[in-house]
């Protein structure tokens, strides 16, 4: 099948990527790509910022087309170290920016709910947050990533294998969807409607972002680690 022409090529203007899909903007800080890139093309911008161009383009594709799945041979050029730094930067973005932002809005809604609904809403959110922390911090960052880093350093261990990877993001997304339903459908209508509409946009965006994030893990990270595991020592 001939490869269809996309703006996702090395010699396309970097700025064109962002007009093609504005969600790609949020990727820049995670890659450490600064603004002010002028009219440079994708490859130049990546080089200046010490970013692996192949990985950058692949992740852009996953963000703007959910059906996209990189071929095996394309994955050979991926630098695992870069991929891990990207995933860690995404985690930081969720934990240090997105969640606190949503919490701030939510706290105002919780306060407005008063004694009747406030505590349960706050309880619901706390449970959810714990689940997120457990998956991202205590599982991925403390079990999976160190395992991969050890593999990269040539250390093999039998205590963990990547096919045990917990696809826990579905849970995290389901609960986010539940939160949307509660905020829009089931909380009494007169409690801070404007705030609730605003927070819904943030939640939808986060839910979509988390969805792409798990696609990156499924379609890039896991196959790459599998081939590392199968490589001859």
């Amino acid at each position: 099948m001939p490869k269809k022409k996309t703006p996702f090529s090395k010699d396309a203007k970097f700025a064109e990527l962002l007009t093609e899909d504005r969600r790609l903007l949020q990727l820049l800080p995670r890659f450490g790509i600064g603004l002010g890139f002028g009219d440079r093309n994708v490859e130049q911008v990546c080089q200046i910022n010490h970013v692996n161009t192949d990985l950058f383009l692949m992740i852009c594709e996953i963000y703007s087309e959910s059906g996209y799945k990189p071929e095996k041979h394309e994955l050979q050029h991926i630098d695992m170290g870069d991929l891990l730094s990207y995933l860690k930067a995404s985690h930081l973005y969720y934990l240090d920016e997105r969640f606190p932002h949503i919490e701030e809005h939510l706290q105002r809604i919780i306060d407005a709910c008063g004694q009747k609904y406030g505590p349960m809403l706050s309880h619901f959110y706390d449970d959810y947050k714990q689940e997120v922390m457990r998956h991202i911090k205590y599982y991925e960052e403390e079990v999976v990533f160190p395992y991969i880093e050890a593999l990269l350093n040539g250390k093999r261990t039998d205590s963990y294998k990547i096919d045990e990877f917990e696809h826990n993001h579905t849970n995290i997304q389901d609960t986010l969807d539940d939160m949307m339903n509660i905020l829009l459908k089931y909380l009494p209508g007169d409690i801070l409607p404007k705030e609730r509409i605003e927070i819904s946009y943030d939640i939808m965006e986060l839910s979509d972002d988390l969805n792409r994030h798990s696609l990156i893990e499924e379609r890039i990270l896991i196959p790459c680690v599998e081939s590392l595991e199968n490589a001859k020592p």
């Binding site: 349960m120 619901f124 849970n171 389901d174 609960t175 969807d177 539940d178 339903n181 459908k185 089931y186």
Partner: protein, 195 residues
């Protein structure tokens, strides 16, 4: 959306012949063929079937009771009678319609389409939680496990799971903590009920 059909009939010739006709229709897939109504409910659950074509002779005089129990466990299920012999017509009232042994292929096709149509309308109206579903929801919200709920309500674990599927379909809420909030907001439980 495609309809998933279970055929329950003792005669292999008849069951396979009917399956062939139904499988040829774009909107229908035959997901199971069984020769007795035993374990029917479990099969419906495991195959996620929404249409049951069954020979009423297999149920004798218990058609009404059997189908009404089945309907409680699988509210989206439509039951079609497959008539192969003369039968007391009172047996046929619980069915949405009847396919007769002498029906032609085209007649069966048009009947099946008509039955499936009436199912979609039924689905659209069906948004309120039933009494049974509300009971299950309350139990889930209180933190009970499926097994405990089944024991307390005297129903099978499969039935509990099927109720929970319907609760999620109707409310849009999937997580246990989300269902708890839903139950509190709708005054189905009290904060005091929670551990």
């Amino acid at each position: 959306m495609s309809n998933r059909v279970i055929i329950c009939e003792t005669s292999e010739i008849i069951a396979n012949g009917l399956a062939d006709i139904i499988d040829g229709m774009a909107q229908f897939d035959v997901v199971a063929r069984i020769d007795s109504p035993e374990h029917l409910s479990e099969r419906i659950l495991s195959t996620d079937a929404n249409v049951l074509v069954i020979n009423p002779a297999l149920l004798g005089y218990q058609n009404k009771e059997f189908l009404s129990d089945l309907g409680k466990e699988h509210p989206n299920l439509i039951a079609v009678a497959l008539l192969t012999s003369c039968l007391d017509h009172s047996c046929l009232t619980p069915y949405i319609g009847v396919i007769e042994i002498n029906d032609t292929r085209s007649k069966i096709i048009s009947k099946m389409n008509e039955f499936a149509q009436s199912e979609t309308t039924k689905n659209a109206d069906d948004v309120e939680l039933s009494k049974r579903e509300t009971d299950v929801l309350v139990a889930v919200a209180k933190g009970m496990m499926n097994k405990e709920i089944a024991d307390q309500m005297n129903i099978s674990i499969h039935t509990v799971i099927s109720h929970r599927k319907n609760i999620t379909r109707k409310t849009g809420i999937k997580s246990v903590s989300g269902l708890t909030v839903y139950a509190l907001l709708n005054n189905l439980i009290d904060e005091k009920d929670l551990i």
